[in-house]
Point group: C2
DNA sequence: TCCGATCTGTAGCGGTGACTACAGAAGGAC
DNA sequence: GTCCTTCTGTAGTCACCGCTACAGATCGGA
């Protein structure tokens, strides 16, 4: 397919990154079309031609964000070695990710679990959270099957604790917790899962 | 001071409760004056005469909510007995509070740690969270001083873990976690604080 | 009964939100 | 160059937001 008509005057993927930054910082409702056009350096008709409406742009940005997060999960959880080490590395990585200098603090998906008037967006956000939670549950069940969990420890309950920690760390980083504090919490939490060489 | 002029046609404290319910469910931005007047059964001028503007009403509602939460904290944390038992009871109580049938799910203060365009309200919310966090820190330091903590356990780090759990449980209840799941998490978290009679 | 004070209902103000009609600009095909 | 297609900028539209002017209603006090 050849390029027909006047070519677009801006880079669509760069614009998407800018929109990600804006939504991640300010959320959906507080990010106005005027905000976006100012940041992306384009006028409303260009934005609407390229991305559809505000909701569609947000959903596309959300997919971009989520895909990257899942890639990070794949990388840490599928690393060779004990599952406990992988989970510990994941929590540490998330603590660092939530406190990355230059990026908005906390998780875009978690911090927007928020009362808003956009049911379809809320549903999508909840869907993404639920999918991460489900992945943690699968991981913990696999660990239990492999005998990597204490016999009296329910894998679903452990997954719930880890997920709760992820959500809480996200909120705390939004509230200004620094990297060291988050890392400390990530490490402390892992003490509820005793290493295999324990009495 | 005698009642001068035409008396108010509605119960102010009942209206406050209704407004609390509305803000708690939907947040500040998504709760419009129209929503409020519909729920309280009054017209805008009555609302403005009784409460000032929308922000003032929200702040008053917030104080009402927070005072109740602090009363709950006082009750559980100042109970006689070991501090560990008090914290365990607090976490269980919060798990139950966040999943009380008939009430909005999660914590009003925590779930609104949200990107929004109202800096003064955000600041107030952050202030309330920070004050609870500080109280947990004081409690853990007192426990450490009293020798109720393992010697190698940092009281501030423990307080951070507990606070992280509170924030995370609030999010999870918003996402539909039921009472049993939250209670299980509350109990699991307490295993990072070994009871005194441990090897 | 009249007055001043306060509340209530109607009706609408000014501002901002998302979104778009329309005309001109910039490319490829011929 | 001419035509067709697509993008861009101007300049709005329409809806909804928080908020309020104003007139009528309802009280206590004289």
């Amino acid at each position: 397919m050849a390029a027909l008509g006047r070519p677009r005057g801006f880079d669509r993927t760069v614009a998407l990154e800018d929109a990600l930054q804006a939504f991640w910082e300010q959320g959906f409702e507080s990010t106005s079309i005027a905000d976006l056009t100012r940041r992306l350096g384009i006028r409303p008709p260009s934005l609407y031609a390229a991305f559809g409406d505000k909701r569609a742009l947000f959903l596309e940005v959300l997919d971009l964000y989520y895909d990257r997060f899942v890639r990070f999960l794949d990388l840490t959880l599928e690393a060779p070695g004990a599952r406990r080490d992988a989970i510990a590395a994941m929590l540490l990585g998330i603590a660092r990710f939530y406190s990355t200098p230059g990026l908005p603090k906390g998780c875009m998906v978690n911090t927007m679990a928020v009362p808003t008037g956009e049911p379809t967006l809320l549903a999508r956000l909840a869907e993404l959270r639920s999918s991460v939670q489900e992945r943690l549950r699968r991981e913990m069940r696999a660990a239990a099957d492999a005998g990597e969990l204490p016999r009296d420890m329910d894998p679903d309950a452990l997954a719930a604790v880890i997920w709760t920690t992820v959500l809480g760390m996200s909120m705390r980083s939004r509230d200004g917790a620094d990297r060291n504090e988050l890392e400390a919490t990530a490490r402390s939490i892992m003490t509820i899962w005793p290493p295999p060489d324990d009495c």
